[in-house]
């Protein structure tokens, strides 16, 4: 019986059926659910890694040891894992190894919309691109066969709409495979310069074989219809193209997109009158088609920014607008994502927003919202881990040139484990007086509550060593460390006063569980839960908006009577509003 699965669920099922032994990832939208679903299969060793480089290398180690292995990450995660990626392009594998990468056209949840297909070309590895969930599952299995047959890493390139769209999938059985024998082979995995020099020769030979395969495989197929129009497409863009052209065009559908099938493209392009190349983001295929000497329509008309859909393709190619209902869209108020009611980050950013002459370098997570209205307590957010190192560089310059500026670097617990540790080492080693604030909400929040080295649990739910952040930062050489509860504004203020007065680098750990987290045994032992609800005494409320300016979604300023009201459904009783109210108009009930 066919099942309706997301692309991510289908990848997990494919990994299971392919007999995968080992899988690792760091969570990142839109790739997170791949490992969450793989972890449901006891046959597969499944791990959250501290970052994508570690996940990739762990999967490579498993492959060298003889296992079928998989690493999954979002597009920008591959930037972190790029170092082992390129060398694995040289070494090849022992057990099959598949790298699943999820791009995010449209930046639904990312800081850029890089097109990772160029990574496959750059690292000289094979690449597959599924268009829907069935293909995602099938291609994972084929990817392992290709990996083992050609001794290459295979990249499965997904996009948000493939990862998070559901379509029908026919499930199959798992094929249990023995590990391949482990053989020590210095000419393959010991990539010293002399070895690498010879490996590069092999890489080029392998690419030729892969190109022959690309021309032969059914993953790249032609569907002949009317030959007036020919469409070359891949990934979810193929589904959009089918929607736009239907039976009125012939298609060269590419599922194996590195190396591209030169012969097959030539055969197709020569037989159609007008050639279109339809792809999301960059002109990866179009550049190749043009290099083969064929004229085509592609990025001259179809945008290379943001995601596509059938309507965008049709309107950009044919320059005719789809009829829509006309109305005044300016009437609609924005509905931006906000920190939840009771979010511990709110107290932290409220406290921080009161400081003057401060540059706040932020990082990637829910707490990035601390930079948005109304708190606006963040100056930069670049990439995972950058808060601490960007802050370090800025502070060194401010100090050398006598600028009266303090720097506060803000990073989450999971992000600190990901890539913050090296940066904090830099702060100590190169002596910048920055204040690093680690917002420890006891979970990887934004991606939907995954465990990390500080939570005390593994992906499989087993108890493990809980890494102590204070001990870790002290081991890195930080002498001044304090832990505060960010929902207690006086504690927080005192900690800021203390840190701002120091003439050496310090760390403040702002520690309270994410309001949406299901508390673990360890959380229950350590923290007092929030209880009761806040209410407003309308007699005392002067309508000053101090409380609504914390950005709590449970508070509403009612314009008609110039008073604030509390939504009892959303309020969790964190008492932040009570602490900022100048007239003590907010009180607690039910605790």
């Amino acid at each position: 019986m066919k099942k309706l699965l997301t692309g991510n669920e289908a990848v997990a099922l494919g990994a299971y059926e392919a007999g995968v032994h080992f899988a690792a990832a760091y969570p990142g939208t839109p790739s997170t659910e791949i490992l969450e679903n793989i972890a449901k299969y006891e046959e597969i060793i499944s791990e959250w890694s501290p970052n994508e480089k570690v996940a990739f290398e762990a999967a490579l180690g498993a492959s060298i040891a003889g296992a079928r292995s998989l690493a999954a990450m979002k597009h920008v995660g591959l930037n972190v894992a790029a170092d082992p990626l390129f060398t694995t392009g040289y070494t090849g594998v022992n057990g099959g190894m598949v790298l699943v990468v999820a791009d995010d056209p449209g930046l639904h949840s990312s800081q850029n919309e890089q097109d990772n297909r160029y990574y496959a070309k750059h690292a000289k590895i094979a690449m597959l691109e599924p268009s829907n969930s069935q293909e995602a599952k099938d291609m994972v299995k084929i990817a392992f066969e290709i990996s083992e047959k050609f001794d290459t890493l295979v990249m499965l390139r997904m996009t948000t709409r493939v990862c998070h769209s559901k379509s029908l999938v026919e499930p199959g059985e798992r094929k249990e495979l023995p590990l391949k024998p482990y053989v020590k082979d210095l000419t393959k995995y010991y990539v010293a310069p002399a070895v690498a020099k010879q490996l590069h020769v092999k890489v080029e030979e392998r690419l030729k074989k892969l190109e022959d395969f690309s021309n032969e495989t059914d993953l790249n197929y032609i569907e002949w219809n009317d030959r007036k129009i020919g469409v070359i497409s891949s990934g979810v863009a193929y589904e959009y193209a089918r929607e736009v052209f239907g039976q009125k065009a012939s298609y060269l559908k590419l599922g194996f997109t590195h190396p591209l099938p030169g012969k097959k493209i030539r055969e197709f392009a020569e037989k159609v009158e007008k050639l279109y190349v339809i792809e999301e983001l960059e002109p990866y295929m179009e550049e190749y088609v043009r290099a083969l000497g064929f004229d085509c329509t592609g990025k001259d008309k179809i945008p290379n920014i943001w995601e596509l859909n059938p309507e965008i393709i049709a309107s950009s190619l044919f320059e005719e607008e789809t009829p829509t209902i006309q109305y005044d869209k300016s009437l609609v108020a924005n509905r931006p994502p906000t920190l939840c009611a009771g979010c511990p980050h709110r107290g932290f950013f409220y406290g921080l927003s009161k400081r003057k002459n401060v540059m706040i370098t932020g990082d990637i997570g829910c707490y990035t919202l601390g930079g948005a209205d109304p708190l606006r307590a963040m100056d930069t957010t670049i990439c995972m881990g950058a808060s601490i190192s960007v802050g370090h560089g800025a502070k060194k310059v401010f100090d050398r040139y006598k600028k009266d500026m303090r720097v506060v670097s803000v990073i989450g617990d999971s992000t600190f484990f990901h890539t913050g540790i090296n940066s904090l080492l830099d702060v100590v080693y190169n002596k910048s007086n920055t204040i690093t604030c680690i917002l420890d909400n006891r979970v990887t929040g934004m991606t939907g509550h995954q465990d990390h080295p500080g939570t005390g649990y593994t992906l499989a739910g087993e108890e493990t060593e809980m890494i102590s952040i204070p001990d870790l930062v002290r081991a890195l050489g930080i002498k001044h460390v304090r832990t505060v509860n960010p929902l207690k504004l006086d504690q927080l203020k005192e900690a800021f006063d203390w840190a701002f007065a120091l003439d050496e680098a310090s760390v403040i750990i702002s520690k309270y569980p994410c309001v949406l987290k299901k508390w673990s045994k360890f959380d229950r032992e350590e923290f007092e839960p929030l209880e009761g609800k806040c209410e407003v005494d309308v007699e005392k409320c002067i309508g000053c908006k101090m409380c609504v300016n914390t950005g709590c979604p449970a508070l509403q300023f009612v314009k008609e009577d110039k008073k604030v009201k509390v939504d009892p459904v959303q309020c969790v009783g964190c008492e932040l509003c009570m602490q900022v109210c100048p007239t003590e108009a907010i009180y607690k009930v039910g605790d």
Binding site: K2, L4, T29, P30, H108, S109, N132, T160, R161, H164, S165, K166, S167, L168, V236, E239, Y240, R242, E243, G246, N309, P310, E311, I312, S315, T322, P323, T324, I325, Q326, Y327, K329, L331, V332, A333, N334, R335, P336, P337, T338, L339, C340, C366, L369, D373, P374, M446, T447, G448, K545, V548, N549, G551, P553, L555, Q556, F557, K559, V569
Partner: protein
């Protein structure tokens, strides 16, 4: 385009749009349609605007639609209907919950909730209004508001060969089966009255 129908389900993070989408897509699947569903996860969950696209027909290619391509727009929150109205075909139908959730700028007094949303919708498109919160309250559980709306949507879709009750029975937790089936029926019947 082909015989494929497109439903755009919109609301605010936390309103249960995902469960409603799951019931709907399962029901369509069991009725023998090819189905594709697209959702956006991630940052939009934090109180932001959310949307689910459901497409069904003999053979569905694209999981997503663009502007002017939805046959039915079902909005769990009134202002969200207005936000996504441009995705509706001019001859398409709107089913809107008469329910307001102020967004962050409105809560802070920096923006206003638009006036006369329902009137604007009615003027611009074939619109059915349902007070799903009231029905859910009468049933004693605000959480079934999403299934009330699903019932209304089912009526608007006008598909006769679907075993909605069976799907609800298999999708929701055992202790909530009865109340959800009742919620579905109330939503369906309410819309029938509204359309009559």
């Amino acid at each position: 385009m082909t015989d494929t129908k497109s439903i755009l389900l919109v609301g605010v993070g936390g309103q249960g749009t995902i469960l409603a989408g799951n019931i709907l897509s399962t029901a369509l699947l069991e009725a023998g349609y090819d189905v594709k569903v697209s959702e956006i996860h991630g940052m939009s969950q934090r109180g932001g605007s959310v949307s689910t696209q459901i497409r069904y027909g003999k053979k569905v290619h694209s999981p997503v639609i663009g502007r002017g391509q939805a046959d039915i727009l079902i909005a769990f929150e009134a202002m969200e209907a207005l936000r996504y109205l441009e995705f509706l075909k001019p001859e398409g139908k709107v089913v809107v919950n008469d329910y307001k959730i102020p967004s962050a700028p409105i809560l802070m007094g920096k923006a206003d909730y638009p006036e006369n949303v329902i009137e604007i919708l009615k003027e611009k498109a074939s619109t059915s209004v349902i007070d799903a919160a009231k029905i859910a309250q009468e049933l004693g559980n605000m959480k079934v508001m999403n299934v009330v709306l699903l019932g209304a949507l089912a009526k608007a879709m006008d598909l006769t060969d679907i075993d909605w009750e069976g799907v609800i029975r298999n999708t929701v937790k055992k202790e909530f089966i009865d109340i959800n089936i009742e919620a579905f029926k109330r939503g369906r019947d309410k819309l029938a009255l509204a359309e009559a």
